[in-house]
């Protein structure tokens, strides 16, 4: 691997200007940029400039080096010094250029002039746009209290400013994208270990993976380390997944477990581990609480019982339990990430966490690790208090253990639709697309229809933006100055990255920070946004010796903080101050303190269960219209088992109509043994209603149009796998 360090990055003077100004953008026309892109390599004789950045094509934030020729970004390469990603850049990362130079980008503020969803827009200037948004927010605040505004931000380094703005404006109603993703998994591990762990995959000898697809849904460093552990260190990978994913295809063993029955498998593992005394008794006695209760609880969950529920042979369950225990503590039931699956997802993931606790796969090499110290500061501010506000969030009390900073999208939607407990009439959305990613698109649409004002800040006109009253164009990650962010990389690293503009912002796009600053100024809140991002970053990095220099020199700062044994002498952040096999708080709240198995819901006769998932090519719904990624994976299809296909008289490639309680859609069938009978799968992010997304408008089918809107009873996380569909051959 060639060494990058000698490459002088002469970017400082440019950055100073780029960070300070807001709209350097306007001059660069799209045509000019595109012609620059196809320019012949004759000009390439001049060496390119190299600039550090961090990828934003998904949430991993891989360090990268942008190659810039004549002011045009021509290639994005991995930063070889970036340990969290193991110096790689995936297909999405490489396609960041196609996002930057996407001809379908939003170019200037747009005000809706037709009916909602009619797609009629008027180009307006920034002053008019910000005046409009501020006056609407003022109006809603006066009429409905400030909690009448709802703020939703996707995963972005600037999303923290949306939260800050919401707080100083005076609304409690902030939702992140995470209630459509991983909150039930976070809940489960937090309520067992007192924190959400990171998996030391690299040093693990035995990895049991259920409800996760690491070779397609890439998570760094886990996805990379999994392959290294398997091929260089002989680690064993056992995959439980109803679908034959690429992870399943590369595993040492794969079991097509029945959907919604992972808990039966995990409870049986605990049963075997306890009845055969395979756990570390001293460790469990010292660090955990509730072994007796757990032992009594799992007595009835033997492998034979589990086989009847989950379809994995009892002998294999028993053997896997023994193998896992033999490899422990350098072993793990991999925690997974997206867990927006079932109405009892928190309890399902608790059953994963409990096996890890029993086997002492914690705070040691090859197991699960607590978060490491990074040391990035969070600059404080004093938010004002508004006496007329209601006492709580609008979605409060609908699920017992929601996260204050994340809320629940599906529950907030209920609150807005019903007007209870109080009216919420305004919505500020930044870079997230619930019309495509949240269950029951029709309901989201109906909810939007009850709003007085909706503003969306995004790079392209997503389906959500398409329904807004005001759309504000944001630059891509390659065009802006972003705050520093701390990243946890398990045993690989604990690090900090930040972004400086690689090229000036295109068109009239403005970062959401500038937009919020503009709004704050118009709403008498200027004092809370009286800084620029460079100052903010300096506050974040204060006290981190060498961080600024490392970021300039290597594009990343590593904190050489302790990796293992960080809990020695520390209490666990649970009620019992120990790792809780038996959850005391759940018990006090009337929730099951130990995961109680209930069989998955049965669908109506002849109905098929719909599941969703990821490929390595696309991120949620944000990349399907990216020209390069769309070329790699241009559409979606309904995966259908040959037996089901035969019963429905559907041939491979034929169009099918799919209907659920939430809605219907049409897409081609992919007849494949990779899904079991009774189960169908489709990829996220196609079948867009927004016509400007030219690659995916009317192409394929949106999961949001079919998914029913269940949610996890404990965390309020969406439950995306509780949907049953009927499939019929398409008439045309």
């Amino acid at each position: 691997m060639p060494d990058q360090s000698h490459r002088r990055l002469t970017r400082r003077s440019f950055l100073k200007a780029a960070c300070a100004g807001t709209a350097l953008a306007a001059a660069a026309g799209q045509t000019k940029v595109l012609s620059g892109l196809v320019a012949e390599a004759g000009a390439a004789a001049a060496p390119w400039q190299s600039k550090f950045s961090a990828c934003d094509m998904c949430f991993n934030r891989c360090g990268l080096i942008a190659r810039v020729e004549n002011g045009v970004v021509t290639k994005l390469d991995p930063n070889p010094k970036f340990l969290k990603s193991r110096g790689m850049l995936c297909a999405k990362g490489n396609a960041g250029i196609a996002q930057l130079y996407d001809p379908n980008r939003l170019k200037y503020p747009l005000k809706r002039v037709g009916a909602r969803g009619e797609g009629k827009w008027q180009r307006i200037g920034w002053d008019e746009a910000l005046d409009l948004a501020a006056s609407k927010m003022k109006e809603i605040g006066e009429k409905h209290t400030r909690c009448g505004m709802w703020f939703t931000a996707g995963s972005d380094l600037q999303s923290q400013f949306v939260t800050r703005f919401a707080e100083v404006y005076g609304s409690f109603n902030v939702t992140s994208h995470e209630s459509l993703c991983l909150l039930s998994n976070n809940r489960a591990f937090l309520d067992t270990f007192g924190e959400v762990p990171f998996a030391d995959v690299l040093n693990s000898k035995y990895i049991l993976m259920a409800g996760a697809n690491r070779f397609e849904a890439l998570v760094t460093p886990d996805s990379i380390d999994l392959m290294t552990a398997m091929r260089e260190k002989g680690a064993k990978l056992v995959v439980l997944d109803p679908r034959y994913t690429k992870t399943a295809a590369l595993a040492d063993e794969w079991y097509p477990i029945r959907p919604g029955t992972d808990m039966a498998f995990m409870l049986a593992l605990s049963h075997v581990i306890i009845t055969e005394n395979l756990y570390d008794a001293a460790w469990v006695a010292e660090k955990t609480s509730g072994l007796e209760e757990l032992a009594a609880h799992v007595a009835r969950y033997n492998p034979e019982w589990a086989e009847a529920e989950c379809g994995v042979p009892a002998a294999d369950i028993r053997r896997i339990a023994r193998e896992l225990a033999a490899a422990a503590p350098e072993a793990m039931v991999y925690p997974g990430r997206r867990s927006s699956d079932y109405e009892n997802s928190t309890q399902i993931r608790r059953s994963f966490a409990i096996v890890n606790a029993l086997l002492a796969n914690w705070d040691r090499p090859g197991g699960l690790l607590g978060a490491r110290e990074v040391g990035l500061k969070k600059p404080g501010y004093d938010a004002p208090w508004y006496d007329d506000n209601p006492p709580e969030r609008a979605d409060a009390g609908r699920a017992p253990m929601m996260f204050e900073e994340d809320g629940s999208y599906v529950l907030m939607r209920e609150a807005v639709l019903s007007g209870e407990p109080y009216p919420v009439k305004g919505w500020f959305v930044f870079k997230t697309n619930p019309m495509q990613t949240a269950p029951d698109q029709g309901k989201t649409r109906r909810m939007i229809d009850t709003l007085d004002f909706m503003v969306v800040v995004d790079i392209t006109m997503s389906d959500t933006a398409y329904l807004a009253d005001l759309i504000l164009p944001a630059p891509s990650y390659l065009e802006r100055c972003d705050p520093a962010t701390a990243l946890q990389g398990s045993s690989a690293c604990a690090c900090v990255v930040q972004r400086d503009p690689v090229v000036p912002a295109l068109f009239e796009s403005r970062p959401v920070f500038d937009i919020l600053k503009g709004l704050a100024g118009r709403l008498d809140l200027a004092e809370f946004f009286d800084f620029d991002i460079e100052t903010y970053r300096a506050q974040q990095l204060a006290g981190l010796t060498g961080a600024k220099e490392a970021l300039e020199q290597d594009g990343v700062y590593y904190n050489p903080s302790k990796v293992y044994g960080i809990y020695e002498g520390r209490i666990y952040k649970t009620l019992s101050q120990r790792i809780e096999l038996f959850n005391k708080r759940y018990d006090q709240m009337g929730l099951d303190p130990l995961p109680v198995y209930s069989p998955p819901k049965k669908g109506p006769d002849k109905a098929l269960r719909l599941v969703v998932g990821r490929s390595a090519i696309h991120t949620q719904s944000s990349t399907q219209d990216n020209a390069l990624l769309n070329e790699l994976e241009p559409t979606n299809a309904l995966w259908l088992n040959p037996a089901d296909a035969a019963g429905l008289n559907v041939a491979d490639g034929e169009a099918v109509e799919v209907a659920s309680s939430a809605g219907k859609g049409r897409l081609p069938a992919r007849v494949t043994p990779d899904v079991p009978p009774g189960l169908v799968y489709m990829a996220t992010g196609f079948g867009s209603i927004s016509p400007t997304l030219t690659h995916i408008h009317g192409n394929g089918c949106s999961i949001a149009s079919l998914l029913a809107d269940g949610y996890d009873a404990i965390s309020g996380n969406a439950a995306l796998h509780e949907t049953f569909v009927t499939v019929t051959r398409s008439a045309s």
Binding site: V38, F215, Y244, K246
Partner: protein, 247 residues
């Protein structure tokens, strides 16, 4: 000994994420609908409990020892560079006739509809000139690819090749084994996809008659005009630039 640049691929590490495909496409400005590289897959019908048995196989131009594309090229535009072992295309000599395309058993070539000449992997010379690995190698998440001069025992590629002489797998069509310089470690699948090299008869006859003189001839200005005309004519009509199957 002169250099022989080659790719050593541990395809058992490939996860089919196609980072290499995207990176190559951007680095080499490959036009829409075309690719210089690919990942083939072998996914037998799944059996519960058994090892997954899936295998993903990255590939591209194999820079063969006996390249049939060189044989098929009437102008000498395609040649194997003796200094580094890389099979190259001289854009000034290529008339875009497309003969090299079926001549490659691996489907590694396409006709660039913009430049109207043949195109394929050239191991990213612009990147190597700046001290960087080819785009596909640099970006690969699982580091399944190792690139280098296999004739240099000090290079990682050379070392790997020597350490694994009895475990190397080459993917070839036995009827037209071009002796590729793309080596797979230990095992790979699928193996049955290379086609028989097709060298179009009229051209084959022509080559037989005039091979030594052709490249000298096309250097002449008069022939150069013919080259341009040929490009327009052939590129406009041929269907060889249909998007290739990436199976």
């Amino acid at each position: 000994m002169s250099a022989q640049y080659a790719m050593i691929i541990d395809s058992s590490r490939c996860i089919d994420c196609r980072a290499c495909v995207a990176a190559c496409k951007v680095a080499n400005k490959v036009p829409e609908g075309f690719w210089r590289n690919w990942v083939k897959q072998s996914l037998p019908v799944p059996v519960a409990g058994k090892p997954g048995r899936g295998h993903f196989q990255p590939g591209a131009c194999m820079h063969c020892e006996k390249p049939s594309c060189v044989t098929a090229c009437p102008t000498g535009a395609t040649y194997k560079d003796a200094s580094d072992g890389i099979v190259k295309i001289d854009p000034k000599l290529c008339i875009g006739c497309g003969n090299c395309i079926p001549a490659c058993p691996y489907g590694a070539r396409y006709r660039d509809p913009v430049r109207r000449i043949a195109d394929k992997c050239n191991y990213c010379p612009e990147r190597r000139a700046q001290g960087l690995a080819p785009a596909c190698v640099d970006t690969c998440p699982t580091k399944a690819r190792v690139f280098g001069d296999v004739n240099d025992p000090e290079s990682e590629a050379g070392r790997l090749l020597r350490a694994n002489t009895n475990r190397l797998v080459r993917v070839v069509n036995t009827k037209t084994d071009t002796q590729p310089h793309m080596y797979y470690l230990a095992a790979t699948a699928p193996l049955d996809w290379p086609a028989e090299a097709v060298i179009r008869p009229p051209m084959a006859a022509l080559i037989k008659a005039v091979t030594p003189g052709v490249s000298a001839l096309v250097g002449l200005a008069a022939v150069g005009v013919a080259v341009m005309a040929g490009r327009e004519f052939l590129a406009g009509k041929s269907k060889d630039h249909e998007p290739r199957d990436r199976s």
